[in-house]
Amino acid sequence: MNNLSVDHLTGIRDLTNEDIQLIFKMADSFKDVINRPIKKVPSLRDITIANLFFENSTRTRLSFELAEKRLSADIVNFSASSSSVKKGETLIDTVNNILSMKVDMVVMRHPNPGAAHFLSQRISAKVINAGDGTHEHPTQALLDAYSIREELGDVSGKKVVIVGDILHSRVALSNIYCLKKLGAEVMVCGPTTLIPKHIADLGVSVSHNLKEALAWCDVANMLRIQLERQEINFFPSLREYSMLFGLNKQLLDSLDKRIIVMHPGPINRGVEITSEVADSDQSIILNQVENGVAIRMAIIYLLASKIER
């Protein structure tokens, strides 16, 4: 298996186990590259990539930009807040205009679920989903699984609990698909209101007790409480949430084993995770960020090799 089975990365759901292993293998090499004195390779010097961010992002956007630059691609950036989208232009018009300027690949974050899939069916450029609403965030899931593999040697057979707002989280959904495909056991944990009905159909177990979940797992992925997606109150107060589902040092130390703590960022310190835990040696939060660049380089490289000349 030397090539991805897909032409676009719209979600983890479309990937096979072999695809993910190939991405990891490439990421190993790119991680080596980004730790060299000169962190750049010329592979994509004749490729142009557009980063379309219809929704705010710092980390993902910077990570994609760095990945693209380290592969020597030319890039154009676009953010919805300062563009014609505000003037009422449709998504397909915006993108077609950008593609007329001869762009080979599009990295897109959009507030609507399915936006990346919609685009991939209608344009000739390769599409990478950098988050589509509450649907998927495939590159985050891949870098999370890659970080687990790096820390524990393998993902298969490991127990991972995803804690927090599962209902609104694209990170949770992509993580569930990705971890399951790699053979891990997955549990979701959070207040009843933030766990979608029928989530168990995806093959995950459900818990509403953080301590129980932590005692079971090898890895805890603490999701951010997405205050911007909570039009109604799903829990009484942030204080109550952090008392019941926040991870603190005391809780971590009460376990009779060493678990790994992850967080996709940005952290609400003191809400889902305390500063002590976030900065402890059990946390691999900053490794995740470093691996993010390597994983994105791998995906861009593999998709770029499918661009027709």
């Binding site: 090499s29 390779v41 090799s305």
Partner: protein
């Protein structure tokens, strides 16, 4: 395909010995020199050189492997996906004399990529090229080796393959020619 042995096990051994003595002639005790093999096929040559050099010199020398995949000039120009191998350089090449090593020198494109890949690790004092089999008169780029194992004249449709005891089970260099193509 007709095949013809260019070098057998005994000849490979002699050639490696000669190359090592040539290297010592210009690199003395290798205190300021390193040997770097190009992945994937230069690595075996380096292993043999290292063995022989260390037994002559009586001390260890620094050797590494360099992967050039991301520096190749045929990305998206071939059907098959270019997959990388491991780069293994746990020393600085800054101000060192570097001997790049590969098994076969043909178009020179691999060496061009190897030079670019090497320079991302620093500024060596000097770079030389050692080649086991030099396919003469077939260069696409102006690149020549400083140390040759053996030079052969080949046609474009022919193929040279270097086999090693460790990987293929036998030490030999073969030339494959198409039938009726004398």
């Amino acid at each position: 395909m007709e095949k013809q042995v260019i070098l057998n096990a005994k000849q490979i051994e002699l050639t490696i010995k000669r190359l090592c003595h040539e290297l010592i002639e210009s690199h003395d005790d290798f205190k300021n020199s390193v040997i770097i093999g190009l992945q994937p096929r230069g690595v075996q040559v380096v292993a043999r050189l290292k063995n022989e050099l260390e037994s002559i010199l009586g001390h260890s020398i620094q050797c590494g492997n360099l992967d050039i995949t991301f520096f190749r000039d045929d990305f998206r120009r071939t059907e098959k996906q270019l997959l990388p191998s491991v780069t293994n350089l746990d020393f600085s090449i800054e101000n060192k004399k570097v001997v790049l090593v590969d098994d076969v020198l043909y178009t020179g494109r691999t060496i061009r990529a190897g030079l670019d890949a090497l320079l991302t690790f620093g500024r060596p004092a000097k770079v030389e090229l050692l080649i086991l089999i030099d396919r003469r008169f077939s260069r696409d780029l102006p690149i020549q080796a400083d140390y040759h194992g053996k030079s052969v004249d080949t046609l474009k449709m022919e193929r040279v393959s270097v086999d090693w005891l460790e990987t293929e089970g036998i030490d030999q260099v073969l030339l494959f020619t198409k039938e009726g193509n004398e």
